[in-house]
Structures are given as C-alpha cells and as structure tokens.
C-alpha cells in the first residue's frame, strides 16, 4: 500500500524552529512504523534522528506521538492506524533535542525521586524470601513498566508542570508499595503525598490509553491515593 508519512523535524544545528517533512512510499500493511522510519532514514534522509533498540515493544526507546497518540513505533503496525496518512511527532512535555529525540532526563529524575528500588533491611535469608502467589499478583501489573514515558508525556498535568512526578514514577512506586516483601511503603507514600505527588493526577486516563504494556496506570495511581487516604495497603 502507498502511504504518506509526515514527520516532525528539528535540527538544532540548522533550524530556528521545527518543521514537518512528508515522504510518500510503498509499504507492507504489516510493517511497523519503526520500519517506515528506518526506510526514510536509509533511503531519503540520513539526518532523520530517533531512538530505537529492541524493535518489539520491550525496551521503551521509541515512544513517540503517532497520529496524535503516544505509542511505540515498533509496536504500531501501519495497518492498525487505518489510514494511509501517518503523522509522527516527538513526545510532548519534554524538550525536543533533535527530530523525534526528546530530553529524557526530567523523566528519569522523577523516576529516581520515588525510591525506585527494593528496600528490606531484615537480614537476608539463606534462600528466597517467601511470597504467596496472591501477594505476588498484587503488584504484577506495575512490574511490566518499561519506562518509555508514553504515559507521563500524555498527561496534561505533566504538560503543565514538569515537576509533577508523573504516572510512570507512580507506577514504579506502586510496584514497591504493594510488594509484601518491601518495607519502605510509608516513605514512598510520603513522597507522593507532596505538592507534586499523586494528587496532581486528575484521573484523565490518558496514561492508561497510552501505555503500550497495557498497564492499568490510572487504577494503580488510584490505589496509591487510596493507600494514602486510608493508611492501608490492601
């Protein structure tokens, strides 16, 4: 099938402001948008810049806005867009460095702020710490996060203030808060109970729609709010 792809372009060494460029080509309906970008780069314009690595939706490198929605370019097939016109733009809310590459540092800074690591100060047992299947299931959904930033950069609260810790960081906090082996839930809840914490979420659900891992992001945020309100972790 023939498609036209319109790509956001910005070369900081040449351009004063961003522009868009269009390319028309034949593709297979089952091609990934990433394949299309690779083809454009390889054949039309080697300066086109974007991040990518695993190419199958696991590493989180190539989150971008495709036809107005945050998605992974490698997990979006042309046919699934139901259109011969494709528009590709960088994630919103983060500074554009070049073309589709944005500055991820504020995103990772927010991630680092929620104690994103397992804390248990008891002496380590000789074997594994036991955990029931039910207790493990409690936080299963939020272990899937690949830190692609699709959720955080779809959130109007984050657009209006980059200091908002954002859905991805709350998902990470959730993964530890509800892990029966972890001992630092109270500290994380305290962090999320501040001005730029969990209450900046206005339950808009953009994050849940954007998540390429189908994590129930808004639900996870709700559970953190609930834990703050009740002081309970169930």
């Amino acid at each position: 099938m023939q498609i036209t792809i319109k790509i956001f372009r910005f070369n900081p060494e040449q351009d004063k402001k961003p522009r868009h460029e269009r390319y028309t080509m034949e593709v297979q309906p089952t091609d990934r948008v990433l394949d299309v970008l690779e083809y454009v780069k390889g054949n039309f314009d080697g300066t086109l810049s974007f991040r990518r690595s695993c190419a199958h939706g696991v590493c989180g490198s190539d989150a971008m806005r495709i036809n107005g929605r945050n998605r992974l370019a490698c997990k979006t097939l042309v046919k699934d867009l139901h259109s011969s016109k494709i528009i590709v733009e960088p994630l919103l809310g983060l500074r554009v460095i070049k073309d589709l590459i944005v500055d991820m540092e504020p995103f990772f800074e927010n991630y680092r702020s929620v104690l994103p690591y397992f804390i248990n100060n008891d002496p380590e047992p000789k074997k594994e710490r036991l955990q029931s299947i039910e207790d493990r299931e409690r936080f299963d959904d939020t272990t899937k996060c690949i830190l692609c930033a699709a959720c955080t950069t779809s959130c109007p609260s984050f657009w209006s203030n980059e200091q908002y810790v954002g859905p991805a960081a709350i998902v990470t906090a959730h993964r530890f808060i509800f892990d029966s082996r972890d001992q630092a839930a109270a500290e994380r809840l305290k962090i999320l109970n501040t001005q730029f914490g969990v209450y900046r979420c206005h339950t808009i659900f953009n994050c849940t729609d954007a998540c390429p891992r189908e994590i129930q992001v808004t639900k996870a945020i709700g559970e953190v709010k609930q834990a703050l309100a009740t002081g309970k972790l169930d």
Partner: protein, 597 residues
C-alpha cells in the same frame, strides 16, 4: 563538562552483565557505567523464559545435573571447569536476585517458580526437569529493571548515551576507553585502571534475528582492532522459534509449558529427531529439525515456516500422550487462562505482530539468529585472554554475551544466558575492583583519541554513491542464506567474498548528516562496519572448522570430529587480515560422547 574522566573501573554496557559488574565493583572502587542506550533499554530486557539454577523447588535437581546438561548442550566444546563454576554459583546468584527484590513468579508454597526448558534434564531419567526460574515471560526485563534499581540505590555513576568506540591499551595493559557523547558528538577520554566490556552480541549480522538494533558487536569489533582475539566466532545460536519474517523471539518457555512444534502436514515432528525430550531438545537440534522439515516440503502451505502450537487442547493432548504429570502427581492439564497468565507477553506479541491469538490459533515461526556463543576470550573471573597460552591482559575484563568463557561452547542452553550475566558480571566486577585496588593508574597514550578520529574522519569524509542501508541489507541476506543454520564450503566462500566487497563499499557510503548532535547516521555507519568485521571473522572461523558441532552445522562435514576439532578457535585481526589459532578445551569429568536427546 570536561572531556577527561578518571575512575578505577569502567564498565562498558548497561545490560545485565554490566550492571552486575558495576554493583560489585562500586562497592570498593570508583566506578562508572558507559552505555550507548539508557540502561533499561538494554537487550537483557528482552529475555523471556527464565534463568537456570538447580533450586529444586518443583522436583529433585542438582547443580551437577545442570553442569552435565550444559556440557552436553555445548556439544563438549564448553570448558567444564567454567561450566561447573557457573552452575554451582547459579543457586546463590538467583537467591541474590530475589533478595534484590526481583519479582519471581511463585510456587503455591511461596518459593521461586521454575519451569522446564530445552536440554535441562533429570540426569537419571533423561526427562526434562523444571530448572528455569522465571518471572512470567519477562524474566530478563525483571532482571534488568531490578539491577538498574539496585544501581540507583547504590549511587552507581552512569554515562547514558555514551557510545564507546575505542579501548586504550598502554604497554599491554588496559588504560581506559574513548566514547562519543551522543548528545553533543564530543569525544570523551575515560582513564581507568580496569575496563569491563559488557556490550552484548552481534545478531544484527543476520536478516532474521531476535536481536535489538543495538546488537552490533561493538565490544568484539573494538577489541579485535586492538589486537585481542575473538574466540569461537563460528558458533552462533539460531533459536528455533522466532516470529515468521520478523524474528522476534517466542520463548522456549512456551514449549516448557507444553507447546509443541507442528509441521505442514499436521505432525508433531520432534519425536522423530529427539525421542526422549522431543520439543525440549536443545536449540541447535530443533532449529536443524525445522530446516529439514521445511526442506523436505513439510513447511506450512509450502512456505518457510512451521507452527508453534500452544492451544490448550493441543498441549493437553500431547501431555497426556507423553504421560506428563504435575509435581503432585496429577495429570498435566492447562487452561487458556493459565497460559495467558504465564506467557502474557508471548500472547501480546503474537496478537500484535502475527494477528494470531495463540490460545486459539497456532503461531507461524522460523529459526532466528539469537545468541553469540563466541566472543572475547576470558577466564571464569572475566579476565581477558589474549593468546593460545591463556595469557591474561592486565586490567581488561569481559562478561555476558560479548565474552567467551567458554560456558556455552558450541551451543548454549536456554536460561544459561541470564545465568551467565549475573555470575560472570559479578565476578568480573569483583576482579576489576580488586585489580584496581592494587594497580597504579597507567599512563595514557600521547594522543588517546587519535585512532578514534582516524576511524570517524574516514566515515565522515567518505565519498561515493553507496548507501549504508543497502550494504547492511545485503550483508544480512548473504549471511542468512550462506552462514546460517546449515553451511557449506561453497556457500561460505561466496559469503566471505561478498562481505569483503561490502567492507570496501562501506568506504564509499557518504553521510548526509554532517552535524554533531545525535548524529545517529554516523554511529549507525560505524556499527555496520563492526557487523561486517564480525561477519568476516565468523565466516573465516566457520570455513576453517571442517566438522559439525552444536550451532555450526556443515553439510559437507556432517559429523563431529573430536580427533581434530575438539578445540577452541581464536581469530586475530592483523593488518586487515584474519589469522586463526586454536587452544584446547578444558575437560574435567566428562569425556565427549555422542549427543542424543
């Protein structure tokens, strides 16, 4: 920021091995991780099915059995002392990950869940044993996330999106690396006492591959250019079950949970090739069986693929035929829901990329280039070896897929790659820090970035009408066709000629991006050069090895030849030529015998 940095230990690569090395090295030494990707983008995160360790949580198991299975799986080319070391270390290594918070799936009694995997057996009955410790079908993702989190906790210093492009050696000792900061295009000199390479593999040589774009063989290419040999490069694993045409991995865990391979006439064919463990034979055996089925006209619809079938009714039918039981002795019966909960990502991949729901339809699959058994030669502590006499290069270490210890020999068992990362990542980090505590900081060369500038100026100034995109595609095609699952003298000679032609053509591929900031075209071109160099070394090593062993299957030499070829190959790059040498395999307890599954 100054472009000069000094540390005790540098870790190159932010995947499982690099992060593990950094965790251990940073306990006692100033340590930095340099990664071309944000570490959580590393390829470790795509590993699915599990990490091997004889915990015995489901049924009787022993590290000794794991050792023997790995020796046999390696087709006796693995070094038995190193394999034994890895398999005995495995148990504590997995508990350590659990202590770091890794969310393993659990057994009903709350212990780490385990599932069967190819080539892992009960050594008495010969039947499959549940040895793969898993977190659903995203075990690698959980290892990568957990180790990255621990690095944050321990305040490890990261240089993200720094592409290492050269290794500095002074008087035969490692002295640091040169890296390009992708954000600015600036060259940085990292000066250190120890350097640990953990840069992963090079599956992007082949067209159908499970490997990330990042897997461009940087570590081996850099060290080859600095006179360090590459070991056993002819051995590359083709995983039996990649998604048709795309190569995306479908974990062996699918077969561990009871999935079976079905050919175009609806037959479960593996029992003809591996009567005992059938669909859980080791990967080289299954990939060859699939090829033979397709070649004999039994592909599906006459095409180059067969089915991987995990529909519950099919799983249950064959489990009953095989007499498979649950640990409590009841017959093995699965439901769609159970498969979905144990293999959620697989279901997602099949739906996204194949438009197939694997609970109700079989998945079209074909073998996919997956894992480098070969790489930078090391001891079991990650120390890099530079010759046939196993001379250690002071200050230089390698771990993970980039290294060749050799624990995988001619064919790696599933789950042993994640195990390799954590065990050898740890020990290389420990050794690197220990060495740094005693060694003086080596002097830097007079002009440390000289060699890098030469290479990159050549890329930037190339003139001609070639396209890197076409060169990469032609390499992948010829390597897939001629240096794949089955190989011949004629086919490989053609491939070698083609690869050399492509190396010459790459010098005539001009860049359109003349900028500095995120010049991904520049980096990609350099990476394609790395892949071509590794394709050449792979093919030269494979042409020389006139036998079939593990992942190296020659139609003109179909048998294993222990009398002449029970040895590791070493390849050096010298003045643009490849020189081969050999060194013996370490055999402790198990003399080679015929390999039957």
């Amino acid at each position: 920021m100054s472009n000069y940095h000094q540390f005790d230990v540098l870790v190159v690569g932010g995947g499982g091995a690099g992060l593990m090395a950094a965790l251990y090295a940073s306990r006692t030494a100033s340590t930095a991780v340099l990664s071309k990707l944000y570490p959580t983008r590393s390829h470790t995160g795509t590993a699915q099915g599990g990490v091997g360790a004889a915990l015995g949580n489901i049924e009787e198991d022993h590290a000794e059995w794991h050792t023997f299975d790995s020796v046999k799986g390696s087709d006796y080319l693995g070094d038995q002392d190193a394999i034994e070391f890895m398999c005995y270390e495995a148990i504590d290594a997995v508990y350590e990950l659990e202590h770091y918070g890794l969310p393993f799936s659990r057994t009903p009694d709350g212990r780490i869940a385990q599932r069967p995997f190819g080539g892992h057996t009960n050594n008495i009955t010969g039947k499959s044993v549940s040895r793969a410790c898993y977190a659903a079908d995203r075990t690698g993702h959980m290892i990568l996330q957990t180790l990255y989190q621990q690095c944050i906790k321990n305040q490890v210093r990261f240089y993200d999106e720094f592409q290492v492009v050269d290794l500095l050696l002074v008087d035969g000792v490692a002295a640091g690396v040169i890296a390009i900061e992708l954000l600015t295009g600036e060259l940085h000199t990292f000066h250190a006492k120890s350097v640990v390479f953990a840069t992963g593999g090079h599956g992007r040589i082949w067209e159908i591959t499970s490997n990330a774009y990042a897997f461009s063989g940087d570590g081996v290419a850099i060290t080859l250019r600095r006179g360090i040999p590459a070991e056993d490069m002819e051995f590359f694993q083709f995983h039996p079950t990649g998604i048709y045409k795309l190569g995306i991995l479908i974990t062996e865990g699918v077969r561990g949970e009871g999935g079976v391979l079905i050919n175009g006439i609806g037959e479960r064919f593996m029992p003809r090739y591996a009567p005992k463990v059938k669909d859980l034979a080791s990967r080289d055996v299954i990939s060859r069986s699939i090829y033979l089925e397709i070649r004999e006209g039994r592909g599906v619809n006459g095409e180059n693929y067969i089915y991987l079938d995990m529909r519950p009714e099919v799983v249950n039918k064959f489990a009953a035929e095989d007499g498979r039981k649950r640990p409590d002795g009841t017959p093995y019966i699965v439901t769609g829901e159970e498969l979905l909960s144990k293999l959620p990502d697989i279901v997602d991949f099949a739906r996204t990329y194949l438009g197939v729901d694997p609970v109700t339809q079989p998945m079209p699959i074909q073998p996919t280039a997956h894992y480098a058994m070969g790489g930078i030669p090391t001891t079991k502590y990650g120390e890099v070896l530079i010759d046939e006499q196993n001379t250690v290069m002071p200050g230089l270490y390698a771990a993970g897929e980039v290294a060749c210890v050799s624990v995988h020999g001619a064919n790696r068992l599933g789950t042993n790659s994640l195990l390799d990362l954590i065990v050898f990542g740890k020990h290389s980090g420990l050794r690197a820090a220990e060495y740094a505590s005693e060694a003086a900081l080596p002097k830097l060369p007079a002009d440390p970035t000289d060699f890098t500038r030469q290479q990159f100026d050549a890329i930037r100034n190339a003139q001609g009408s070639e396209k890197v995109f076409d060169i990469a595609r032609e390499m992948k095609t010829i390597m897939s066709d001629n240096v794949g699952v089955f190989r011949t003298e004629l086919g490989m000679s053609e491939a070698l000629e083609k690869v050399r032609e492509l190396q010459a053509r790459l010098k005539q591929a001009p860049l359109t991006d003349k900028g500095k900031i995120f010049n991904t075209e520049l980096i990609n071109t350099w990476e394609v050069g790395n892949l071509l160099d590794l394709a050449e070394v792979t093919t030269v090593s494979a042409l020389a090895r006139k036998e079939s062993r593990g992942g190296h299957a020659r139609e003109d030499y179909p048998n294993r030849d222990d009398a002449n070829w029970l040895k590791h190959s070493l390849a050096w790059l010298e003045n643009g030529q490849i020189r081969l040498g050999y060194k013996p395999v370490t055999i402790t307890k198990w003399q080679p015998k015929e390999r039957v599954y």
